[in-house]
Symmetry: C2
Subunit: 229 residues, 2 copies
């Protein structure tokens, strides 16, 4: 049954474009790929796809991220809808999501399959259409979110060192952070657990591993506390 008022309206192709972020070598990276079809075949592009009629938009985004990374356990948030008339060659409305993934879980065979690469956010090339703007908007949003919620942990494995965590936040904010102040703030939040083991990859002394305690975080939130990192 079609309600009459909905007849004779214009319809649109709707795509999702995903800004898939990972953290590696002390820097945030974004997964981009060479576009496999015309127009702009061979241009650098975000990972995208069209929304199907039988899925909601967030599901489309999740599908796209899974398709191109092999990762299904992701943090996903919408950035917004991009709707300039000429943003693509056809009229395509694109809904942008950013995904935070543990880059260690990336299925590297997919890199070849899709001609995809992880690029440092500080070294992104020019991307097709309005994709660079999408990335800029996302970084702003991510900074906002990271300052108020502990979403950074989605970019790390389940154990990590404080120096690593710090460089993650430095990469998000794109500015240096004082070591002592950073540790102080984090540890007084009491959402991390120190482990016995050390990571000896980056120094002779080694840095203790920590893990994120989501239960404690949720408790604190329920008590009405909120954070800023």
């Amino acid at each position: 049954m079609t309600a009459s008022f909905y007849l004779n309206k214009d319809t649109f192709l709707v795509a999702v474009d995903c800004i898939i972020m990972g953290f590696r070598d002390n820097d945030l990276h974004i997964l981009i790929a060479r576009r496999p079809f015309e127009p702009l075949k061979g241009g650098w592009s975000l990972m995208g796809g069209f929304v199907n009629a039988q899925e909601n938009i967030q599901e489309s985004a999740k599908r796209v991220v899974g398709e191109y990374t092999g990762i299904n356990d992701i943090y996903l948030e919408q950035v917004g809808a991009y709707g300039e008339i000429d943003r693509d060659v056809e009229r395509v409305i694109s809904v942008v999501y950013y995904a935070l993934v543990d880059i260690e879980k990336f299925d590297t065979s997919l890199a070849e399959k899709y001609d995809a690469r992880w690029i440092r956010i500080t070294q992104l090339p020019e991307l097709v259409f309005d994709h660079n703007k999408m990335v800029r908007d996302t970084i702003k949003l991510l900074q906002q979110r990271a300052s108020v919620k502990p979403i950074g942990f989605n970019l790390l494995g389940d154990q990590f060192t404080l120096p690593t965590l710090q460089s993650l936040y430095e990469s998000i904010y794109q500015e240096p952070i004082d070591k002592r102040n950073f540790r102080k703030k984090l540890l007084t939040m009491d959402i991390l657990e120190k482990l016995e083991e050390k990571d000896k990859n980056t120094s002779k002394k080694g840095a203790f591993y920590y893990k994120y305690n989501k239960e404690k975080y949720d408790q604190l939130i329920q008590q009405g506390l909120h954070f800023s990192l």
Copy 2:
């Protein structure tokens, strides 16, 4: 010319729903209307419309706000895309914008024409579809924005008193603010100009009018300063 890859993809109705906000009687209000067609005819609804092929989404939103308020000088920002499969009866993807308008400029004849009313945000009825969620999301976003940019002025005429401005922020944050602290913060920002004239409507003593000095604000921003209110 149609690029081949774009063929055979599903297409969607795309709507805009606008959360049109005004400030009156010490409270934020939202313009809502009784839905004039089935399904849910007579239900309370946000102001919306379908996106046309020849306009970008923001233009659609601006058109909708103009249509239902008669106001063209508005602050408009996107909230996001709402894409649940069953959010409407048909598959409709809705892009939500909020608009901040000077309610004094509202063309009251349109209220009758569209069966529309300004309702205090604290007293919104149940709205159709996912419109209540849209409003909740918008209020959060507005709080975030107001804390960091002086967007509140878009809700006022070009002169206003400090008690009015304070109650505007109290309405946005939905909590009381200390009078002296509020004035201190605002005046030290140095983006307001005190006028000679007083508003005597709300007290016998009268409150001085101020006006917002956008030039000063832009200067400060350029100097890399930023605000929090």
